[in-house]
Symmetry: C2
Subunit: 227 residues, 2 copies
DNA sequence: ACCTGAACACCGTTCAAGT
DNA sequence: ACCTGAACACCGTTCAAGT
């Protein structure tokens, strides 16, 4: 908002919860999840550990705040879309891309939601998926159920989605997994072994979108059947 | 040596990876996730920490083994079902009930899958959902995609599903969440505030099954459309 | 109020040493 | 091979003390 914070003064920049969360996100982005420790944070912000706890409560709170901030940013710009389906797709993609940009987000989302299923993180996601849901033709008593399903799919897909490393590492990883699957005993795993080839050249983002469409189709089919 | 083992049968029972995993699951079930430490384990098994590491590798391996064991047990008995839809529902319920019985499972599932998306845990789940998928009329090139969607939904729903505490605590928890949602600003959260009431008397298990049905409906609708 | 930093009670993991 | 248990390098968190 105001750009007054960018002063030439380099001595101290006043500690605040916001600044701590910001530093935490940066640390997570650059050095990975295991690098976010109180000591690292004190070093980066050149303070003592007590100062952190004066603003932030607990380490888990900080992690939650970091997740919440990233999610909020990803959902900040409401997507302009022609149809409710398109809006849902846009929301889903915005969140998916946030998880790609911040490799630590998926694990945190899962952890945070398991710890507090109806906390602010879920709240934000629920609202964003639910808003277009109203225009989809679903009768109001079913809004909760259908939106839940959509949100749950998103959570699951993100958890398993791309995380550490860039694109080439991901491809290499998929190749390794593919090989492992293909070499399983067909008697024990008749499905996996026949399907293994399909996972070799699969695109996470594309797969994710297809899944969203599939759930949407299920929701609409339900509406049509009720009508 | 052989004569020495015979002296007192009650003391030592030979340590093994299996026994360690078993003790870990018991510890997780009875005292919660944070109680599973190497020291606790050594105490329970009356050994030294080195003995644990001689059999188990790392703490995360142990957690993965515990999750894998529980999942494998839950899927051990292949369900007799009349239709592929029913079989998928049975698999889903078996896993859901396992997560209810072992409150730590959901978090571990999410963590384990984020760490290694195509590890043995995912493998087992994928195979179980995928097997009946073949009889659903989905063309083979789509098997991977449709099964992925189903698995992802399951993961997400379980992550957010019931975890700590028994039924009464869960109900109390839902009530608190409901109240919080209802008291939000309708301008900021128009969707949440209108559906808050629906979450008050909602049944996790029922909701889960409805979600599975919804995804199934999407999959079948896709088949019908292609035909 | 805001911050410092030593101290506390833990962790997971290692490794020389025993049997 | 299998196990012991002290030691190591960390954690998150607290708290008397400073400004």
């Amino acid at each position: 908002m105001a750009s007054q914070t960018r002063q030439s003064q380099r001595r101290r920049q006043v500690l605040s919860r916001e600044r701590i969360v910001e530093a935490a996100i940066e640390l997570l982005d650059t050095t990975g999840e295991s690098a976010l420790t109180v000591r690292m944070l004190t070093e980066r912000l050149s303070t003592g550990s007590g100062a952190i706890y004066h603003h932030v409560g607990t380490m888990n709170d900080l992690l939650e705040a970091a997740s919440d901030t990233v999610i909020a940013n990803a959902l900040a710009v409401p997507p302009a879309a022609d149809t409710p389906e398109d809006e849902i797709r846009a929301v889903a993609l915005a969140l998916f891309d946030a998880a790609t940009e911040h490799p630590w987000l998926a694990a945190q989302l899962a952890a945070q939601i398991t710890r507090n299923p109806w906390g602010s993180v879920t709240l934000r996601i629920f609202e964003s998926f639910g808003r277009p849901m109203r225009a989809l033709g679903v009768p109001q008593p079913d809004w909760f159920t259908t939106t839940s399903t959509l949100v749950h799919y998103f959570i699951g897909a993100t958890t398993q989605g791309p995380h550490d490393g860039g694109k080439p590492e991901r491809a290499e990883f998929l190749d390794t997994a593919f090989e492992a699957w293909q070499n399983l005993d067909p008697d024990d795993y008749p499905f996996i072994t026949t399907i293994a080839a399909q996972m070799r050249d699969h695109d996470d983002r594309r797969q994710f979108l297809t899944g969203i469409d599939l759930v949407l189709k299920g929701i609409v089919a339900r509406v049509d059947h009720a009508a």
